[in-house]
Symmetry: C2
Subunit: 79 residues, 2 copies
């Protein structure tokens, strides 16, 4: 079973990396850009056929390693 996990900074946390990307895009002449924020993306394949159990395993991975819960949010989707 395959899942995608997107990890984003919480709304009120500054995103200096995204800011640099934003400035660069403006500098190379892209117009109409309002804001850009950067996050992480994982594609995880789990050897488990039951959806709920598989989701629980992925959730455990997020909490234990992939996500810093103090400053980040995450979303798990089945793909």
């Amino acid at each position: 079973m395959k899942f995608s996990v997107t990890v984003t900074l919480k709304k009120d946390v500054l995103d200096p990396q995204g800011k640099v990307v934003q400035n660069t895009l403006v500098n190379i002449g892209i117009k109409n850009l309002k804001s850009i924020r950067q996050g992480k993306y994982f594609e995880i394949e789990v050897d488990e056929s039951e959806l709920l159990t598989a989701e629980k395993i992925v959730d455990k991975m997020c909490k234990k390693l992939l996500v810093n819960l103090v400053i980040e949010d995450y979303k798990i989707n089945k793909i």
Copy 2:
């Protein structure tokens, strides 16, 4: 108009960063993990109300800066 962009390494490109994450997850006792690959994620807000035009702007950003087309694929979704 808001879009999400996920950037992933092409299928045949090695992902050393993902490999390290995978080994670490195994080491901290996660079972049933088959594979994990890491990518990038962007949330982009564009100041443009027409969907097609907005999508074109985001696509231009990807091609010009956000994605290395030699080794990476990308997907744009409206959110």
